[in-house]
Amino acid sequence: MKYSWWKILGVLLLLYVFTFGFLVPLKPGIIAVSPVSIEANHVSNISITGYNSNYQSQESSLQVWLKIDSTSGYQATSLRVNGERQLTATFDIGALPDTTEALLLVVNAEDGTAIRPRAVKINSAEHQPASVPSKLSALPSKTFQTKAGFYFPYRSILDETIRNTFFHVALWMAMFVLLLIGLYHSIQYLRTKRIEYDIKASSYSYAAILYGLLGLATGSVWARYTWGTWWTPDVKLNMAAITMLIYAAYAVLRAGIDDIDKRSQLSAIYNIFAFAAMIPLLFVIPRLTDSLHPGNGGNPALGGEDLDNTLRMVFYPAIIGLFLLGRWIATLNIRIETLRIHKLQSDL
């Protein structure tokens, strides 16, 4: 075994990713609400299930709000707390001109603000007497507070799977880097016609294909337990699948040609075209339309709500760690293929 600093660095980084990626807790959130639809002009009870929350110990500072617009909402008139993660809030909803999907806020001194978007649908009464008051009150100015300390963000539906950022997402990012290195060596092959560039290009591309297939598999598992299906015809998913098919064809092309020079030449050219096809498929088209995929639809890139600074502290090391692991895998293949070429040459 060849000891190299980057192999050790890669393993250490991945060790850090596994430890912190799994051990840092999520911020408090709201995992379930029932019922999800109530009537305006009625008094309704809503039962709320929290996640990583401290309802019981923070009962004195607990506030529950249904936010209607940017400045106003309904505050729960009474709260019944059943343990740290369970509470029932009673709302006295007044007249509402339109049916509204209200945002649910649970605030307390320890947890800060837990948010569930579109948590409760408030149906407006059909024949509303004009005399009924709206009963709306202004939201307090300090409604949104974040919990102090180091926590990953809590996102509705994502829940703990936000940690997949370090594995599923980082895998794709590492794949791009590996493909880029493969592309560089393909270009170098066409310039110099030296066989070692062909070996390097194919080895890096194969490692990238492995990462891409794993990216599809981990994404599929994630989709099964969040969207409820292994695959959906979402633009992001389908474009990723097409990209993998294009690169699968690269592997088939290489396997199908026996003549070494012809194989190197053709696969180098194909690799350049495949890379050129990958850019619009993975970076452009998913941004042009709406997508279910977190972080997509519009152009949020690596930002906004889905990736905050606490996630970045694990996400970026995960990309570097997985890339170095991929490089390790690729160099093993390079060494094997180089030996084989040497043997072929000495046999002649």
């Binding site: 596994f18 799994f22 999520l26 995992i31 996640y51 829940d159 703990e160 799977t161 940690r163 997949n164 594995f167 599923h168 895998l171 490692a207 492995l210 297939l213 794993l214 598999a217 981990t218 598992v221 994630w222 099964r224 337990y225 969040t226 692991l325 895998i329 093993l332 293949n333 094997i336 030996l339 084989r340 043997k343």
Partner: protein, 67 residues
Amino acid sequence: MIQKTLYILLIIMTPVLLMAHESADFLRSTGKIYSVVLAVVLIFLGIVFYLVRLDRKISRLEKEMLD
């Protein structure tokens, strides 16, 4: 022989992992953390699969060299 066994293990393990827990909705419990664990297991299996391939390549090369 060992490689064949590994292949078979790889092929059967994934669906078994999925089936075993699906009915109990185990993977959705505790904020779906086990679906992340499953993703990590898949990555691990994928890398092992590639290692097995490399291992076979080396074995073939060794055999050719010694002949």
